[in-house]
Amino acid sequence: MSRTPLVKLVNVSKSFGRVYALEGINLELYPGEIVSLVGDNGAGKSTLTKIISGTEKPDSGSEIYFKGDLVRNWNSAKARTLGIETVHQNRALSEQQSIYANVFLGREKTNALGFVKRKEEIAQTEKLMRTIGYTSKVWTPSSSVNKLSGGERQGVAISRAILFDSQLVLLDEPTTAMALSEAAEVMDFIRNLKQEGRSVIFISHNPWDAHAVADRFVILERGKVVFDAPKGDMTADQFVAHLHNFAKK
């Protein structure tokens, strides 16, 4: 591929004392690509996403490039300005508040006195909900979040992640503890993100979910990338078999 990767990790390591959580990771993420990051508990998936989102500092010698340029002192503020957003495992929604209040939480559109420009927020939320594929007509941006299904709630969190034209969305186990239909809904949201030209890193325990949305698989095992290949015509069963192979070693 001759395109410039959106984010490129070169020799990224993270150690806690003498234990390596990540060891010499090299990874390239291209625009409009969904990468499924899979691996067992403790394989380093969370640490890797935390490094990409800037909440965890990698060891010295690690290099992170954004659109071909080396970024020094990578941190969460820099990551956010460059358009990297994380959707947290625990959704981080205030469920008694409206959808639009949640989407704009902490980044409210206000006038000079700090009063919220509701019309603008509502209109923009509506657009975002349509972008990621909210089909239900029952809910409006003013509905409170506790009226939504688990999948739709995750949709609110995903809408929030693309609010400011983010280019890379990190989804940390977005379908955990969800009913199948809800998880399917979330998968649709993720596919719509790709259609919008955004990159996605999808972290999951569930190999079938990971297979369903991915363009490329990255398997982590004990802090190392042990497999990195495009999906191609690999079936879900073959992918699961692959995973089992690595787990056995």
Binding site: S94, E95, L105, G106, G114, F115, V116, S144
Partner: protein, 324 residues
């Protein structure tokens, strides 16, 4: 659209509508049982005299309840900030501006201390403010030394006429309290800070994850209780032209009742300013009404108890899931 759909009341308005229905049923009941009193305008003037006091401090309590905390120290903040107001008036030959600043500063400081204790040290707000209620009334008594401060010199002043004079048959403080309710209502429901207050009480972790300073938000909510307590103290002193250290007594339970009767749930994350105004009116009507209708004052507490329990049941029935 079916008929039942057309009649649906927006969820946000339900607590207010519920509290209003309850209020009017109560008034009608009073009118039927003692028409001589409740069909006369005099009783309403009596209600309008004290209603603003309960309303204003109740507004602060709505903020702290929505923020997921509670403040039981406001009666003593009223006493202490009232002392600051009265003492400064005495020392400055009735300089109302300086005295008001003194009262607001004391109220703000008390709220700020509450806020720091709860957010920085992680103490329970229920116990912290219970302790502060004792500590602050103790401090008030130590400073005041049991004096009753007569401020009858201010009777003819323009400040007194503007703040607690009569605008037609209605006491001026009624309009002031509605003004404060309007401003605090706008901030709670339309301002960025109000949204953060809601989130602080609903899911503080969600707020933190999105960069909202939850500790500062809660501390400011405590400060609002302090400031509304100070405003209540000032109006009460202007009204009576007297300061006594027990002036905060009798607020604690009625004001809390007004908040909850108004439809703000104890669980945080939701609340209503309109409901508080109705709730305060309900509470004050019971106080004034029981006495005016010739019943023994002892009946007031029984009336309160019934109203609180019945109104909670009403809200539950009305909104389906309140207070659970």
């Amino acid at each position: 659209m079916s008929a039942s759909k057309k009649l649906q009341i927006p969820e946000k308005l339900r607590p207010v509508v519920g509290a209003s229905i309850f209020f009017f049923i109560m008034i009608i009941a009073f009118m039927i049982t003692s028409p001589g009193v409740f069909l006369d305008f005099g009783i309403y003037t009596a209600v309008f005299l004290s209603l603003p006091l309960f309303t204003i401090v109740g507004l602060g309590l709505v903020y702290i309840t929505v923020a997921g905390e509670i403040d039981l120290s406001f009666p003593s903040i009223i006493a202490l900030s009232g002392l600051a107001f009265a003492w400064t008036l005495e020392q400055t030959q009735l300089n109302f501006g300086i005295a008001a600043i003194a009262a607001i500063v004391v109220g703000t400081a008390c709220g700020y201390i509450n806020g720091l204790l709860v957010t920085k040290l992680g103490l329970s707000s229920l116990i912290t403010t219970l302790g502060m209620n004792f500590a602050l009334i103790g401090l008030t008594n130590i400073l005041n030394r049991g004096e009753v401060r007569m401020l009858s010199d201010m009777d003819g002043t323009w400040v007194r006429r503007i703040v607690v004079g009569s605008w037609g048959p209605i006491p001026a403080q009624m309009f002031w309290s509605l003004g404060v309710a309007l401003v605090l209502g706008l901030i709670l429901h339309r301002h960025k800070f109000g949204i953060h207050v809601h989130v602080a009480g609903d899911n503080p972790e969600a707020g933190r994850a999105m960069g909202v300073n939850i500790e500062r938000t809660k501390t400011l909510a405590f400060v609002i209780v302090g400031i509304t307590s100070a405003i209540t103290a000032m109006i009460a002193i202007l009204l009576n032209s007297t300061y006594f250290a027990t002036m905060g007594e009798g607020y604690l339970l009625p004001v809390l009742a007004a908040v909850f009767v108004g439809g703000t749930p104890v669980t945080g994350g939701r609340g209503t300013i309109g409901g508080l105004v109705i709730g305060a009116a309900t509470v004050v009507f019971i106080q004034v009404g029981v006495v005016a209708s010739g019943l023994d004052g002892y009946w007031t507490s029984l009336g309160f108890g019934l109203v609180i329990v019945l109104s909670l049941l009403g809200h539950r029935w009305f909104s389906g899931r309140l207070t659970r």
